[in-house]
Symmetry: C2
Subunit: 230 residues, 2 copies
């Protein structure tokens, strides 16, 4: 199987990895609940999955607050922000609007100073000029698919890692193409019942993925899977 990301990694070990971090999943396998909207960015019930991370010291510090938990949840919250040179996110993670952009008013969920501070490539079928925000975050809208987005993100990242943000369908596209090097999932004490299934019909075993880390708090089971076969 041809895999330019892998070849590049082998040729130049200093090239960054492609990572998924802090991806929430319910016990019944959903990355988001049903009916995602402005009020429910993670779908009905989805917010229950965020409790482990919003309680951590690292997350609170990132959002200008003191205190918070240390320990395994905090370690994973922190590592998700380390050594990142660019992000790629799906259209649904950028906002609740579907179809063509009605205007340029929607600038993401995160206000004027989004918590990325690096270039963010947004997968979309609808062109839109780049959107420069405060704090070194610029949103670029990519209409040519995941391979094109990854090429741009790698170039911008300049040797650092590229983080694939979500949602589920974006991650599934990258997993199917075997472009994810490492993925951290946080399984939370939640039953969502329906929504966006993360792993359905992917066959990650055949794609060479293995569990390399497995560690829980009382709020989340942290699992890291890694592509160990080329």
């Amino acid at each position: 199987m041809s895999n330019s990301a892998t070849e590049r990694n082998e040729a130049n070990p200093s090239t960054g990895r492609v990572r998924v971090e802090s991806y929430f999943m319910s016990v019944d396998g959903y990355g988001a609940g049903p009916d995602q909207s402005l009020e429910h960015p993670l779908g009905i019930g989805g917010e229950e999955m965020t409790e482990w991370v919003t309680a951590t010291r690292s997350w609170r510090a990132m959002h200008g607050m003191d205190g918070g938990s240390t320990g395994v949840d905090d370690s994973f919250a922190r590592r998700g922000t380390e050594n990142l040179g660019a992000w790629i996110i799906g259209r649904n993670m950028f906002g609740p609007i579907r179809g063509p952009w009605p205007d340029d008013k929607w600038k993401g969920w995160w206000g004027d100073n989004p918590p990325y501070h690096v270039p963010v490539y947004v997968l979309t079928h609808h062109e839109r000029p780049p959107l420069e925000m405060e704090g070194d975050t610029t949103f670029y809208f990519v209409t040519e698919g995941i391979q094109a987005a990854l090429a741009m993100a790698r170039e911008a990242a300049d040797g650092k890692d590229v983080r694939i943000g979500g949602g589920a369908e974006t991650i599934r596209q990258f997993l199917r193409a075997r472009l994810i090097d490492e993925m951290h999932i946080a399984i939370t004490p939640t039953i969502l019942g329906s929504g966006e299934p993360l792993f359905a019909e992917l066959d990650l075993r055949r794609s060479g993925y293995e569990v390399v880390q497995f560690e829980a708090s009382d709020k989340a089971l942290h699992v890291v899977i890694k592509r160990t076969e080329e």
Copy 2:
């Protein structure tokens, strides 16, 4: 929704519960891997999911061995055997033979003295006379479906609980009918890739199930879900 099991519980709180215990699941949501067979009762890769339980003191004692781990894995291994008056298992959990019984030679995976010691109702489309084993285990073959099997098991259990053993499809049938009161799942550090998905298209949230326990060792995350709505 009419639900005779629930009505009976309300009318008579001493009636046993319907429980799933120690049901293995991979991180990617499979209760068994692909290609189940005599050599691979849990499908390819499925045996990796048993490590947490075979290391416990309770499991080892049940199989005539000394030693073993204590702690959370052992607690869950032990509670799975407590207060049981009958079991219901699917045809695939009883053996690798599919279709009509060629003869009466196959007597389960477990030898002359199976680890049940109570009546076991085997769901099948093909009639077969009851099979009396050593140690008070008798296998009854039920061709009339899950409701009939549950009625027989409840009667035999005489106030104790009925355990639904598996495989995935058997548990899914009982969950769809809202007949499971409580279910313990052990999520293990395994990627199976394909096989028998446990939760796909069930909508357990709509059925009133919630997570009531969430506790991990380094070998398994133990999750208990319970039907809290009637």
